[in-house]
């Protein structure tokens, strides 16, 4: 029912765009609130339709996948959660998929955050992963299979200091248990004792800083999940091999879920994302067609207003 009516409304919206094009060309552009409505509906309605469109896997995501499947059980993975709730729509699905993968393949997670909100988002990701039936069928113990070291202030200086000793920046974990008493952290002194670093980054500090210090100074292997805004800026690092792989934005998250065989949030969001893009693209076209038409008949006094 919802599905059908959503489809009908979306189709009507698409058709009505032609009317908007006509209005704009004749120099009577619609108000911005009308555009707001289009954007709102184009994102809202597809969420009700529960369709997962097919998505090809890009090389960036494939590279990350190829790397993490090679990590043997028992590998220690440092997982840096550097994002806040606004970026959670993009990064949380990646994080959940990654944590699930780690739990299913017995990778040990050492979680930390350079953003104050990071460890709290990590807590949610772990809770979500533990609800998965396959994961839940085996016990996972905090301190043995994963540990949340919490947040530390100092941005990239935290990473720099961790190159010497993790304990310096994280003397206790989130539950206030001393570093040396955590079974997982026994004999983990610095980056040379972890096998892989996974960063979920939404800005500063984030992937850039991990590349600069974690990779280029301390020779770690780094994979990243980024918001789309950040992703464009880290492509040079991907090309130069400073990053082993990259998940960029919502579609990166959906691809990651697909390649891991997890059905997660990002896949269900993808349709809404598609319609959102379609709306923006349609309005760019309408605006520009009107711009050129109006410029040609210069005599029209309204200009592009």
């Amino acid at each position: 029912m919802l599905n059908t009516s959503a489809t009908v409304i979306l189709t009507l919206m698409g058709v009505s765009l032609i009317y908007i094009l006509y209005l704009t060309i004749t120099g009577r552009p619609v108000e911005r609130r009308v555009v707001f409505l289009y954007v709102g509906f184009s994102v809202w309605l597809p969420l009700l339709m529960k369709i997962t469109p097919p998505l090809p896997i890009t090389t960036d995501v494939q590279k990350l996948y190829d790397y993490i499947i090679k990590l043997p059980p028992g590998s220690k993975v440092l997982c840096a959660f550097d994002f806040d709730p606004p970026s959670a729509a993009e990064l949380q699905p990646m994080a959940v998929a990654f944590v699930k993968y780690a739990f299913k393949h017995d990778l040990k997670l050492i979680i930390m955050g350079l953003w104050p909100q990071g460890p709290q988002q990590a807590q949610m990701a772990i809770a979500a992963a533990l609800e998965d039936p396959t994961v839940a069928s085996h016990p996972h113990e905090e301190g043995v299979d994963w540990v949340n070291l919490g947040f530390q202030s100092g941005n990239e200086f935290v990473i720099l200091s961790m190159g010497g000793e993790f304990k310096r920046m994280f003397p206790r974990d989130k539950r206030l248990i001393p570093y040396d008493s955590i079974p997982l952290m026994k004999n983990v002194v610095n980056f040379s004792n972890v096998d892989f670093i996974m960063n979920f980054g939404a800005g500063y500090p984030g992937t850039k800083e991990w590349v600069q210090i974690g990779v280029d100074r301390f020779k770690s292997k780094l994979g990243a999940g980024n918001t789309a805004v950040q992703a464009t800026e880290v492509y040079p690092y991907l090309r130069s091999g400073q990053l082993v792989g990259l998940l960029g934005g919502m579609s990166g998250a959906a691809e990651f879920e697909k390649v891991l065989g997890e059905k997660g949030k990002a896949s269900t969001f993808l349709l809404a994302q598609m319609f959102g893009h379609a709306t923006v693209m349609a309005f760019v076209i309408i605006g520009n067609v009107a711009f050129f038409v109006l410029r040609r008949k210069k005599k029209d006094p309204a200009g592009n207003n």
Binding site: P29, R32, V35, F36, Y38, V39, G40, V43, P54, L55, P56, T58, T59, D60, P85, P86, A88, Q117, P119, Q120, Q123, M124, A127, G150, Q152, S153, G154, N155, F157, L160, S161, R168, M169, K174, R175, L176, I177, R217, T232, E233, Y235, P236, L238, R239, S251, L270, Q273, M274, G276, H277, A278, T279, V280, M281, F283, V284, I286, G287, N288, F291
Partner: protein, 225 residues
């Protein structure tokens, strides 16, 4: 004293971090660690400075009855309310057995985070989606060659990164050509352009850092040249 000491502090701190990159031996390696700790602690105090400053401005606003002053009451109430909840949960957790964190699921502070903080900050930023929509209708114009190239590249990336344009090309061919095109743009021209920008920025940051360390640039300590 007001000028010389800060300049000296800046230079020493800068030199320690620059030199310890090349010389790991004592005293540089050790100094780097100690200074790293200090940066971390000072930054936490800086956040507290910001919070106290916000409180001070809000109180001043109420006293001066400047525009929008009633909202300042709300700022003060919600700020102090969050602090009370946080400190209560925090110290309760420290003295509990076993200890727990102020932000563990189920604490009051976590409730504030999940339902107030998260809702407010994400909604604040999600408004940008609407603004992008209206700007695409009213402002993004192919007004010259450069803007045209930008919009065309943006168009293909937007349409290729989600299975949108592939839907259309799918009528004629099976291979996801637009997805591949978007991927190619990201990995080649985009990576090249970003790399040129990165190199430029690196040199810019290097030169401004150098000026700061050498004491040529002093604007951060409140003095011009």
């Amino acid at each position: 004293m007001r000028r010389e000491v800060p300049i000296l502090i800046t230079s020493i701190a800068g030199l320690v971090f620059a030199i310890s990159y090349f010389i790991p031996h004592f005293p540089f390696g050790r100094a780097e660690t100690i200074f790293g700790d200090w940066v971390s602690i000072v930054q936490s105090f800086a956040i507290w400075l910001g919070v106290l400053n916000l409180l001070k401005i809000a109180v001043e606003k109420i006293f001066r009855k400047s525009e929008g002053w009633p909202y300042s009451y709300l700022i003060i109430i919600s700020l102090i309310g969050t602090l009370i909840v946080g400190f209560y949960d925090g110290f309760r957790g420290i003295y509990a057995n076993p200890q727990f964190s102020y932000s563990d699921p189920g604490t009051h502070f976590d409730w504030v985070y999940q339902y107030m903080y998260s809702a407010l900050t994400s909604t604040m930023f999600s408004m940008l989606a609407f603004f992008v929509g209206s700007a695409s209708y009213r402002a993004f114009r192919a007004r010259n060659v450069q803007a045209t190239m930008l919009l065309v590249a943006g168009f293909f990336v937007m349409g290729g990164r989600v299975p949108l344009l592939d839907r259309i090309s799918g009528l004629f061919t099976d291979s996801p050509i637009f997805s591949e095109l978007a991927n190619w743009i990201m990995n080649y021209p985009n990576a090249a352009g970003q790399r040129a920008i990165l190199i430029g920025i690196a040199l810019g940051i290097m030169s401004s850092s150098l000026r700061v360390i050498l004491g040529i640039e002093r604007s951060h300590i409140g003095g011009g040249s």
